[in-house]
Symmetry: C2
Subunit: 328 residues, 2 copies
Amino acid sequence: MSIKIGIYGYGNLGKGVESAIKQNPDMELAAVFSRRNPESVKIATEGVPVISADSVEEYKDKIDVMIICGGSATDLPKQTPKLAKLFNVIDSFDTHAKIPEHFANVDSAAKETNHVGVISVGWDPGMFSLNRLYANCILVDGADYTFWGKGVSQGHSDAIRRIEGVADARQYTVPVESALEAVRNGENPPLSTRQKHTRLCYVVAKDGADKAAIEEQIKNMPNYFADYDTTVNFITAEEMAKNHSGLPHGGLVLRSGKTGLNGEHKHIIEYSLKLDSNPEFTACVLAAYARAAYRFAQNKCFGCKTVFDIPPAYLSAMSHEDIISHLL
Amino acid sequence: MSIKIGIYGYGNLGKGVESAIKQNPDMELAAVFSRRNPESVKIATEGVPVISADSVEEYKDKIDVMIICGGSATDLPKQTPKLAKLFNVIDSFDTHAKIPEHFANVDSAAKETNHVGVISVGWDPGMFSLNRLYANCILVDGADYTFWGKGVSQGHSDAIRRIEGVADARQYTVPVESALEAVRNGENPPLSTRQKHTRLCYVVAKDGADKAAIEEQIKNMPNYFADYDTTVNFITAEEMAKNHSGLPHGGLVLRSGKTGLNGEHKHIIEYSLKLDSNPEFTACVLAAYARAAYRFAQNKCFGCKTVFDIPPAYLSAMSHEDIISHLL
């Protein structure tokens, strides 16, 4: 019997979840929920209904786990606690500072109705968090480093698009190679924001726009660019479509630590991701943790969980015997 | 109240556990158990007794978790099930093919007497296993690669030392850089044993020994060297002591996979370790998992566990609130 998955929200992430489900033989897509007119939403899986988000309650007993694919800024803080009263749910909430509040909200909603809610699943938060935790527990005396990229930051791209005279923009976050090398060499360097990442922007200007003014505005934008070394390249719409249509991303988590009675031995733990598609990879992590949510629910272990609370074996479709024989 | 740890076996690994305990403020070393005459064993922690292994039963109620630091070939298959009848235990059993049998033996011994036994903890098996599992669950359609080194293989060094005319030897396992690059590029290359690693040997010959014969014997030794490109360097005892006295090791686990409706996007997950001291790093992993064993015992969740069965949060000395706020 396969795990019946619902997808709530059908943007890039929802589409990624749909293709992830196809790779997991123990899962099936039961329905896609959308706030748009369901008739306007075409999905890639035949025979699966698209349902108006307003009618989600009717699916209360037809979905084992609902994968919520909304945005962290305004969608998930409301959607996840609300849907946790009806379903076992999982989301990719990624506003780090607000995770404790979100955890508490989802925990009480889920416990009230005997459901499981898994939050903040993806790669950061998610796999990067796990690697920070494991590495901190092993190398107690050490320092953490996280680098992002090379990859597209959608928030930064959007910020550029809001500047007058900009027709389109893509922003890549790029780790500074020399900083990364210093960390890998065990030098434990203190690194400022500027020393860790550079920002590389590709901009299509509208006809007659003042390019120098656009470049100036980008480079001085507080929070987004002012603290970084930023490069701005103006390109044509054709070049944008040809060379910058993907959503690649990735990054690295490192911990550099010392052991021995006198701290005489150095160690480096490094975890890195190189992703052609940020949303599809995040979706694959969500699918694996949806399996874990299902198992927690079967064990009547209700409430909110994070990647920290979940035994790794719960993610696997393989039997316990098989993972011990083949992966340990 | 701190977790009272016992160390059973005081070789390189036991010494590493001793220094790891000093880095973890919630742990204290209660006793060291040795098969040698206890009076001949000097340990680095003041005020802690060294006890004959024969008297271990007297410590039945004085140890929260016993970290067993014996060898996998002959010690652990006997020691871990036997000690699991008296204590919560943890070991670094690393004979991959025999893990299912060891699991069953420890599980029944531990359940019989309401104890917890955590087996096969370290970096491989251990952290590498975890990364194989997580990566397999995320990238369902993909291929796994494990590389070891650059590092000292004690088994291979010992094999060289058994050759006539050899006074001392050190063998380094070295990953083949071009193979690693092909994997990182997402080429999913099929790799033979010879294509993945080379073996680099430093040998001190006895006076008058036939060096050509030694080199020949090393290069043709079945299982250990015959399937590899092996380099043999003869050095002096002084060079050996100066340049090859450490036990560095490390390695990489990679998974290369595809996502998307038509497998159109590639992804690489890479985990790597660079370790100045193999036994001290393994000891740090054991210490963190000893904390998990203690928590399982407190929750009366008895029997055998592996790294796959343990929620990551159990490894941390921090509160659940703190790990969510600071590491997620």
